[in-house]
Amino acid sequence: MTQDDGAIVFDVQRFSVHDGPGIRTIVFFKGCALACAWCQNPEAIRAAPEIYYDDERCLAGCARCIDRCRDGALGDRRPKRVDFARCTACGACVDDCPAGALRIVGRTWSARELLTEVLRDRPFYASSGGGITLSGGEPVLHAEFLTRWLPLVKREGLHVVLETCGAYPFALLEPLLEWVDLVFFDVKAADAERHRTLTGKTNDQITQTLALLLRRGAAVEVRMPVVPGRNDDAENVAQTAKMLGRMGVGRVTLLPYNHLWEAKLPRLGTQQRPLGIRPPPGGHYEELVRAFAGHGIAAST
C-alpha cells in the first residue's frame, strides 16, 4: 500500500469522553505543523513513523532484537538500548520483541481500514450522541486523505469533530468543512513572538485561519491549553481575550495542564525536553476564568 492510499495514524482511541459530545473514537494523525514545548503527544510531531522503546517492558536477559537491526541502532545498553539517530524505523526488530517493548509509532491506514475501525463503536455513538474526533498531530495536514475519507464517514452518518491548531493556509481546511460538524480550535498565545518561543512558529497564519473559519460560519469552539508559567499570565490572558473579542468569539475552553507526557520522552528520539511544570495550586483555573471574564470572555474548564 502506498501512502497515497492512506494516512499515517498513530492511534485510534475508543471511549473518549473529553473530546466532543458523547462517546467518541479519536483518530490520531501523525505529523504536526507546530512543535509545542509541552506537546502531550510527542510521538505525533514528526510525520514519519518512528521507533518507540519502553525499557520497563523490556525483558531481562533477552537480546533477540539486537541482531535484527541492520542499521546498528540497537545495543545491549539498558535503558538506552536504541540509538535513535541511527534508527530508520524499518520495523525489523518489532516483530520479534515478545514484550512489546519495541514498536513503531504510526502506520499507514487505508481509508477502508480506518473506516471499519471507527465504525466499531457505532452503537455507542448512537446511544450517546457521540462520533469521531480527528486529532493528532494536525489532521488538516492530511487534507488530501480526508477529502476522500470524510465523505465515507459522513455517508455512515457519524458526527465529526476536528481538533486543529490552525497553522496552515485556510485553503487546506476549507474543503473539509462540509464534512466537519464541530471544530476545536486551539489558541496558545496571542503575542506572535511568544507564540514562536512556545511552539516554533508565530501565530499570524493561525489567527488568519481562525478568522476565516469564523467568517465561514463554522461551528467553532476555541480552546486554550493552559501551560502554567508559560501562557497563563495576566498579559497573555488580556491579549488573548482581546484577540478573541476582535473576532467576535465570546467563549474559550481552558484545557488544564497535565505533565504525564514527559514520561514518554526517553522512549522516543525527540528533541522535546521536559518542562518540569507541576500542577498549579488549587483554584488556579477558577482564577483564570475570572481573569477572562474581566475581559468579557466566558471561559470554562
Binding site: D11, Q13, R14, F15, S16, V17, H18, G22, I23, I26, F28, Q40, N41, E43, Y52, D54, R57, L59, C62, R64, P98, A99, G100, A101, R103, V105, R120, D121, P123, F124, Y125, A126, S127, S128, G130, L255, P256, N258, L260, W261, K264, R267
Partner: protein, 871 residues
Amino acid sequence: MSSAPAPRISSPFAHAPETREHGRAREARAAGRPQRLEALRNDLLAAPYTLCTQKAELLTEYFRDHVPADPLVGALAPLHFALTRRGLARSLASGAPQPLWQLRASRALQALYARRLDAAAGEPAVLHHARALAHILERAPLRIYEHELVVGNPSSQRIGAPIHPDLGGILMLPELERLATRAVNPIASTEEQRRRLAEEIFPFWFPRSIQSRVAVLAPDAGLANALLRGDRFVLTQFAGISHVTPDYPAVLERGFEGILEQVETARRTASTREQAAFFDAAAIAARAAIAFGARWSEHCAQAATRQIVPQRAAELRRLAGVFAQVPARPARSFYEAVQSTLLTHVIVHQESFQHGVSFGRIDRYLQPHYERDLAEGRVTREEAIEILGSFLGKAAELLPLFNEMATEYFSGLSSASGITLGGIDEEGRDATNEVSLLVLEAYDHMRLRQPNLHARLHAGSAPGFVRLAHDVVKRGGGMPAFFSDEAVVPAIENLGIATRHARDYAIVGCVEWGVPRRSFPAAGACFLSLPAALVRALHGGATADAAPVSFDSMEALVAALRREIEALVAEAAAGNDAIERAHARWRPTPLLSLLVDGCIASGRDVTEGGARYDSTGMQGVGLADVADSLAAIERLVFDEKRTGVAALIAAADADFANDAALQRRLEERLPRYGCDAGPAEAWAKRVAQIYCDAVREHRNPRAGPYAPGFWTMTTHVGFGRRLGALPSGRRAGRPLSDGVSPSNGADHRGPTASLLAAAHAQGPLTGNGLCLNEKIEPWFVEGEAGTALLADLTRGYFRAGGMQVQYNIVDPAVLLDAKAHPERHRDLVVRISGYSAYFNDLTEEMKDDIITRTLHGGAGPIRPVDGRACG
C-alpha cells in the same frame, strides 16, 4: 400505613461509627437515610454470622418420631457412617480419590437403606415432608427485631446460615469444629449445635439424605471422586435445587386459603395414588402456611402488650392485624402485600435451601397495592420506602453455608435472592412504574449485599428509571445489574417458552433469566470448566500429564475440542440427572409446588416435573480463556509459524518455566478477547456455539431442556486453581475469566471494546443467563453527566446485542485499603460474578482477583502509547 408522618425511632446508631463511612458519596447517602433504615442497616452490619440448626433439628425430630424406621438400617448405618465419616474428612482435606470399590460398596449399602426405609415409611415421601414442614412452622420460634416494619425469620439467627442435613449438609461435618475459626467466612455456632449435628442429626440423615442417595442413582460410581477433584465440573444440587421465582403474586391475590381451595378442587380429579398423595401433601403445606400466619398475628399482638414505647406498640398491633389477613387471605394494602411476600419467602425457606429463591418482578405485583393506597391516603411515598427498606433488610438475613471447598467456588456468601425491576409486560409495553423507583431508592438507603437487584431495560424504558438505576449503581455495590429485554426474551423463547411468558421473565438468583411463577429452572445446577476440556483436547483426550498432540489445522483442533466439550457436558448431565431424580423420589417440596404454576394442574411436585416449564442450568466457565488460547494457537502456529502446536502446549504444560519470552508474547502481543480486534471474539462466539449446542442436546429428568449459561459465581477461581497453564499465556493456578468477561488485562482498549467483544460472543442460545463484569473507575462517572455516560454505555452495548452487564464502580485505592484494613470497610459491597458481596467476605484470592481485574477508564488528556498489540 396511616397518613401520619413515619415515626422517628431514636437509634443508638444515630451517629454511625466513623469507620463505617468512606468517601463523600457514602456520607451524603447516609445523611439522607431515614433513621429507621439507618438503624436497621447498622444492626444488620453488626450482626454476627451464625449457624442456624433450627430446621435441621425440627426436621430430624419429626422424621425420628413420626416416620417408621427400619431395624436393619438402624443397625448398619451407624457403622457405615463412622467409616464414611473418616473417609470424607480425608478426601475433603486432601482431594484424594476414594477407592472405587469403597464407593461401590457404599452405594450398595445406600441402595439397601433406600429400599428398606421406603418400604418402612409406608406413605410417599411427599406426605412426610409436608407434615415435617408443618411441624417446623408450628414450632419455629418467632422473633421481632427492633425497628423492623416487616417481620419474619428466614432463619433462627439475625444473620443465619441454615444447614440442611436432608440435602447436602453432611459435607460440613469434617469442618464443623473449625467453622467459627476458619479464615474465610467464619460462622459462629455453639458446642451444643455442633454436638447434635455430629452425633444425632447427621447420623440420622446419613442413610436418607440426597447427598447419600445420589450415589444410588448415579450411573458412574466414581462421580464422587470427579466432584472432589473439582477440576472439570461442579454439580451443586446435592445442596438443594431452589433457584426459582415462586408465585408470590398468587399469594397476594388469593392467599393460601385460595390456593388451598384450588388444591382441594384438583384433589377430586386425582387419577393416580401419586397424584392423590401430592394433593394431600400440598393441602397440608397450605394449611401449615395459613397457621403460620395466625401464629405471627398472635405473636405480634402479645409483643404489643409487652411493648412500653407506645409508638412501637402501635406498630406491633398493626402487624397483628396484617397477619390476621395475610398470607392466608388476599393482601388488601401495600403493607400487607409486602409482608405477605416476605412471610411466604420465609416459609419457602423452611423447606428449600437458601440459594436463588427470588422475588421476581415485585414492582409489578406491588404496584396496584401502592397506587391504591396512595390514592386513598393510606400510604405516603416516604412510608413506602421505609417499608421496602425494611423488606430489603430481611432479604439480607440469609447466608448460604459452604464448606471450604465450596467457598472457593462460591465465595461471597450470597444466597442470591433476586429482585427484578422494570422491563416490558406480556404485551410488550413498558411495565416500569413508581414502585420500580421506590425499590431503587430503598436499596440506595440500605446498600446491603442482598437482595440481588436486577434492572430490565428495553428501547422504551422510562428514562427516569434508566437514570436512577445508573445513578444507584455508579455509587458502588454493583447493583442493579442490567438486562436487555430485546436480547433476553428471544433466548428464553428458544427454550420453548411462549412469547407472553418469556416477556415476563425475571432474574433467578444471580443472572439466570427464568419465567417467574411458571417455571422450575434449576438454574444453578452445573458449572463446567471449558479450558479443562481444551486441555484434554490438546492431550489427545487425556489429562495434561500425557504428551501434547499435534494438529494440522485449526479445524482438526476444534473438532477435538468439540468432542471433549460434548463428553464433559454428557458426564455432568448424567451426574445431575441422578441428583434431580433423587430429589424427585426422596425430597419433594410440596410447599414450593403450590407456588409454581402447573403443579396443581398436573398433580405433580416441582421436583417431579410438575411445573409448566422445566429446565436445568448448565454454565460454561472460562470462555475467554479458551478463545484466547485458540486465537494464540492460530496466530503463532498457523499464521506466523513461530512454533508448533505440540511445542506450544509443552511450554504451557511446563508453566512456561523455560520460556518466559513466549509467555510474555502471548500476554502482550496477541489479540485477546476483550479488545474487539476480531479473531479472539470470533473464537469466543464459535466456542460458545459449540458449548450451547452440546448442552441443548440433553434433557433433564423433568423432560425439560438443559439450558446453557455463561456465569461463574467464583468457580473460575476454583477451576483455575486446579488447571495448568494455557496457550493463552495464563499461568498455572491463576483464576480463569469470569462469565463472558475478558481475562484480566485483556480489555485494555476500554469499556466500549470489551462490551462489544462480549456482545459478539452472545447469542439466542444462551438460555440460562450470562454475566459480564465491567469495572469502571469512579471519577469517570462523576456528576449527572457521568450517570448519563454510564447509561449510554449500557444502551450502546444493548444496541449491539448485549444481554447483561454489571458494573463494579469502586476506587481501586478503597479496595486496597479494604484488603489491608477490613475493619474499616464492613459495608463495602462489590460485585462478583452475578451477585454482590461484602468485600470482607471474599477469599483473599478473590479479593486479589477483583483488584487486579482491569481498571477501565479513559486515558484522560494524555494518550499513553500502548505497547500491546491488538490485532
